[in-house]
Subunit: 349 residues, 2 copies
Amino acid sequence: MAPPKGENVVTIGDIARAVGVSRSTASYALSGKRAISLEVRQRVAQAARELGYTPNAGAKALATAQTMVIGLLAQFHSDEFAPAMLQYILGVSDTARELGYDTLLVTESDGAKALRRISASRMVDGVVLLNVAQDDDRLPILRAAPQPGALVGKPADCTGVDVFDLDFEGAGRLMVDHMHELGHRELILVSQPEHVVERGGAYVWRLLDAARERARDLDVRLHAVFGESGQPEIGRTLNALLDAHPAATGLLLNNEAAAAALPSVLTARGLRSPEDLSVIGRYSDEFARMFSLPFSSIESAPDRLGMLAVRQLVRRVSSPTLRTEPDVVELIPPELVDRGSTARPPATS
Amino acid sequence: MAPPKGENVVTIGDIARAVGVSRSTASYALSGKRAISLEVRQRVAQAARELGYTPNAGAKALATAQTMVIGLLAQFHSDEFAPAMLQYILGVSDTARELGYDTLLVTESDGAKALRRISASRMVDGVVLLNVAQDDDRLPILRAAPQPGALVGKPADCTGVDVFDLDFEGAGRLMVDHMHELGHRELILVSQPEHVVERGGAYVWRLLDAARERARDLDVRLHAVFGESGQPEIGRTLNALLDAHPAATGLLLNNEAAAAALPSVLTARGLRSPEDLSVIGRYSDEFARMFSLPFSSIESAPDRLGMLAVRQLVRRVSSPTLRTEPDVVELIPPELVDRGSTARPPATS
DNA sequence: CACAACTGTCGAACCGGTTCGACGAACCGG
DNA sequence: CCGGTTCGTCGAACCGGTTCGACAGTTGTG
């Protein structure tokens, strides 16, 4: 029984002493970076196992200039629907671990300051930014930082970083196209709250504008509104919208909170989907399952975006030649997951 | 304009050279651990500011044996309602930062292995464990680790760690008491799924047993069931329960998914709360707001629990004398947040 | 006025790894 | 049998901080 909380730290020096070789030999035996006799290699490995050796991360970082940690900068705004965020975080963290990296989660409200801190102190080898705004104040700092960065969310200026996001323009068009093909001619689009847009959540505009344009081209009426992201309000807003546009036969939701609220709104109004109203949302499959959302939706693929960002980041981190490779901007194509909530509009009465 | 991604690392040696003093003097000037002339102190401070000096975290960790990082071990099980987890994570991460610590988020499925890794490699000064099971396999490793640990969730054996949790026994009793006082005599209690319990989620039992006992003492009928945590299923289960026990006038929910599903179930059945059915849940205020849950509930206080755990952890970390102080086990008393979903039972028809 | 105490600074060692250059021994071909 | 490789190992330096002990100079005390 080792004493609890014992300060028995095993260093590579202990290994070397136990085996009777120099520290450098022990190091080479473990890393395999130089030829070491089979016998010594085995004895070092055994000693390491028996003594329970784990290299000191700080020392390793100091010597190799690699921490094997990536920074994850998440930003939570009070006017956002937080549950949707978790999946991005898990996507990043799980992928990082698969690739041998740990994740430093930073939720500080002042993201720029936090980024400077973890970057300048060399705590991380690279950084993933979530929830990137159109003109994000973290970007200039990231560009000047020695570590590479990957973004989930597309800002106005993508130079110097790798960017991954859903193709929101495509998503907007796909929503309208799909409804149009089924015969709908009047739609309601509920976006995120306006402050989200003002803060720089450009994806809202990207989807909205593309949807508007396509609607115009196809001669479809589109009522576009910004909805709240809080739950008592967004339900009322949905009700008010359905009251205001009785001829609308299709509902497009670019607002997770609205999607989560819609089932009870429909039930309360005695409406059924798709018989009375066709609905397309935009959220993740995981989200749909969690909230039992029966609506077809464009998959927002948070786990996949997180994964792509980390993969690319790790590629850059692990090979210095890639540091200067051209930036990647990958907008993943929208995919409509059919959950049966769209159909031909009800026959005009 | 510094070259983008420039490798211009400023070390304390650069500061010393710029000012014309030794490295040790620069270090003392910055830390204040020895008397340094005002003039040198100011010039060092200025040089540090001008050159943008930030100490290298790895080097500092190596020298001081302190990383200023705490590990956060979260565990996500597929049969759990993940959104509730995020608030614990934020509680921990935000509090840690307030106290000057960063947070290493570990979501690896093999928590024990992950804990051994980050502990043995000295990446963290302390560890917070979330979602602690009755007989958690991370505990023996934590006890043997050199770092202190704090738990959110109470295991069977609390020795060697600090434990913070809701008083679930008290919560169970409070739920029953409250309903009884209002005049209810037949209740339904929906707990977490049975696998959560089997996996060691003892809090489910603690609430359930206490509620049962109190119900027996007060001569109240209590139908206790385990409900699913997935959304299509839990809704059906709720419906089935209401069918099976038409005389029950009160519903107790120790299952977030059930709470999230209940509003639409009630609406669909044409029931209103509290007129037709009194409801008490157990979740956080934040959660209630997010999902617009109109039910009175026992506050599960994830942010507060996370905060308490981190505070205590940091106390232990920062003062070696506290390392051997007796363990803390704090069960915060249940508080009923009245959202108006309980009332006297409807007059017996 | 001699000696002690204090102030401010420096050099060196240390934390625990990695890595470079050197070097002896074994091995090879000519 | 000699010179050049290759193999296996070692010692030393380095990464960038902190901290201990020493020491010169100043101030204070009896």
